[in-house]
Symmetry: C2
């Protein structure tokens, strides 16, 4: 019996986060103040973030200690397994070795608590009572509700309306951990009311929900904002994924030729690949692939430009790949990938050619997800199916060429709260949305002048 899983004991849980900013070929540009368009300082961010997270956001130290209180919660499910996808390999008849890092084993079902836990911890330490956030598919809102419970913080979640409707049980999960959830756009904020006035039937977007959560946090002294992706400190916290994967691949005796992750804001992809970047910069042949939906093709069709992180232009301007801050993507089921921008770290790596990107259609991703469920057993989240689909394509290429490559992807989450999407797929009710050319052109035209 070949090993299906490479497990690590609790003693192998990383004690330090790896900060890829120390090693990137091209560093991200500084954030700019949305009003003055001058670089933001720590004080500009302190209205919504605690100082320790702001420090991590700008740090270029290669290693940053993980507090014991954070390790103590992470160890409820970490280290996570690395699986060799033997049954998928057999089904494909590929000579490739396929591995997947299984982040679906966390209680909320994804990689998101890796950063939710430290964010809740640092906010609690700073005396904050309440966190406000947005969520797309609900993975992040679940993770933050879960984390807030450990540090006795209130959690307020603005959930993108289309996902709120598609996934009622994500809301129930947040309630179980004590979170409050409302659909966004909502009538609770100026940002939400403005959108509703113009588009009463808006399905919402991550950009809108971020505006609502930022406004909530900025207008309440007891409340900070927490972001589940995009920012440097989020990718820092997610580096535990890649650090464990490196140890596990060493045990398996394989070196990665291709690393693959799906990208919405870039958090699971960034954390998964970050520790491999020094290797990549020494080894031209190694490939790192970011996979996005063709309905929201930020890295493959967007501009590399300064833009707002949210629709209401409340966040700092970030230099990133973007489709424009008022782009509302079609209502694909991979709600966590419906974001107009991309993490500045991931964007910089795409900009200088460290990584490559592909955009895939909804139907081919669901087809890949079902093949994966019927071979490896795990039913993946629609977001994750993008990484799976890309891995399968690369493994099929290996079958054609006879190359025995090692393909490693991040299984960012399970699909237990996305079964409505699978129902729609089996009932032939899912479509590939046409490329939203007009909407993208319109939103790209509104990119801010910097």
């Amino acid at each position: 019996m070949s090993a299906h899983r490479i497990l690590l004991g609790e003693d192998a849980l990383p004690r330090k986060w790896y900060n890829v900013l120390a090693d990137m070929k091209t560093k991200p540009e500084p954030y700019l103040h949305p009003g003055t368009k001058k670089p933001v300082g720590p004080d500009d961010l302190s209205a919504i973030f605690p100082m320790e997270l702001i420090g991590q956001e700008v740090s270029t130290d290669r290693w940053i200690d993980i507090p014991q209180e954070v390790l103590d919660v992470l160890s409820l499910w970490r280290p996570t397994p690395l699986h060799r996808a033997l049954k998928l390999e057999q089904a494909l008849g590929t000579p490739a070795h396929i591995y997947y890092k299984n982040e679906s084993v966390s209680p909320p079902g994804s990689h998101k608590p890796n950063t939710a836990v430290p964010q809740a911890y640092y906010n609690k330490k700073a005396g904050i009572k309440r966190l406000a956030t947005e969520t797309g598919a609900g993975q992040w809102g679940s993770a933050l509700s879960f984390a807030c419970k450990y540090f006795d913080l209130e959690c307020m979640v603005y959930m993108v309306k289309v996902s709120y409707q598609q996934k009622p049980y994500r809301r129930s999960m947040m309630h179980t951990w004590g979170g409050t959830v409302i659909p966004s756009p909502s009538d609770k904020t100026n940002a939400g009311r403005a959108i509703l006035a113009q588009f009463p039937d808006s399905p919402g977007s991550l950009g809108i929900a971020i505006s609502e959560a930022v406004e909530d946090a900025a207008t309440r002294k007891d409340t900070n904002y927490a972001l589940g992706s995009v920012l440097n400190h989020v990718i820092l916290h997610q580096s535990v994924i890649g650090l464990e994967t490196q140890k596990q691949l060493k045990i398996a005796g394989d070196e990665p030729d291709i690393l693959i992750g799906c990208t919405g804001g870039g958090s699971n992809f960034g954390g998964f690949v970050a520790p491999f970047i020094p290797d990549k910069l020494e080894n031209e042949k190694m490939r790192i692939i970011a996979v996005e939906p063709s309905s929201c093709p930020t890295l493959t069709r967007g501009a590399f430009a300064y833009d707002f992180g949210d629709t209401a232009k409340m966040t700092p301007l970030m230099k990133m790949y973007t489709l424009g801050h008022d782009f509302v993507p079609p209502g694909i089921h991979a709600g966590g990938l419906r974001y107009h921008g991309m993490a500045p770290i991931v964007s910089a790596m795409k900009g200088d050619g460290t990584i490559e990107a592909v955009a895939l259609d909804q139907l081919e991703c669901f087809e890949a997800a079902v093949l994966f469920a019927r071979t490896e057993g795990i039913i993946p989240a629609p977001e994750t199916s993008h990484a799976i689909c890309s891995a399968i394509k690369e493994a099929r290429k290996c079958k054609e060429t006879g190359e025995k490559k090692t393909i490693v992807f991040n299984l960012s989450g399970h699909g237990h709260f996305d079964m409505g999407a699978y129902d729609a797929y089996f009932a032939n009710k899912l479509v590939n949305f046409p490329y939203p050319q007009e909407a993208i052109e319109k939103s790209m035209a509104s990119l801010p002048q910097v």
Copy 2:
């Protein structure tokens, strides 16, 4: 940091099942033919079971080899972790050590695939093309759909109607693995039509669904029947739970004072405690507690008598604790515990005092489930919440007495497909059903004369 999880590598996966029939103080009585009331022979069972499973059903060998083809699938998720519930202990302020064996990590989310996989394997080996089964909460139907996919068998699931309505996404999960699911009672079988004629609004029960599945299997040559609980070979297959737990407790350096599992038909409880039975028979002080719902109090209020396993009286008569084969329990959310009978092995152990039993109310179990979710992170299935509630009660007793007992329970499944039940709980819409005295008296009066 104290260890939260005790992990075992793939090399620690049991290679043999443990058969508790070899060591029980009192053996179960033989099954009787439903017509002749004489002991059944292998030929009587061969219409619906393959010969290798019939052999395991009657074997008294202490150890039975697990086929490599079965190990190869089980190793997708086994060995499962044993967790020390440190955060729950802290919340309770108890000196007790609480451990839980985490069977929720399997792809279908429970212990059920431990027996679904070997049952599918032996049926495939015997040339069968299709399996028919019943499911309550959907855990067993999911597990059999999952297992059938690996051995290229069709899977037909009769799902208890109340659960079919409460848990639509369980059905989606079975579809994803290729299973077919219909609500029971259905119009597809004589047994189903007879119930519908008398009770058009029947919520269904496991007893009725078993009748439908047995009829389906008995009337089609290409089809066998698979049962997810009750039978000896099921408890045999589930012994991997207890065998791994023994190794893990040794690593943790603790010996169990109290073992706890929830009981519907007895499969997770039986497999969890079986390998500990020889210890128990040498150590009077060790306690083994079966926890059932007060709405279906088989072990605590039933008769220890011969009865049918199903409503339509198609199965052999089994000597077991029973509330009568036509008892239809109130529609509690722990659908997997809504069974009128109990595994003959578990019944015999209750009969001779090897184990004890308690019955708990729905609301106290949900309260325990929420406390567990907010401390250990995992949202448990409503069935599992019965074991959790009992473990918490025992840990609280330890707090009162100051005793540092070691309490180990089986976390039989997660509640990701039961969030509607949690919604109802938070909305104060769940009730403790009154003890169904009249229904039980009526069904007990119809126990067969043997």
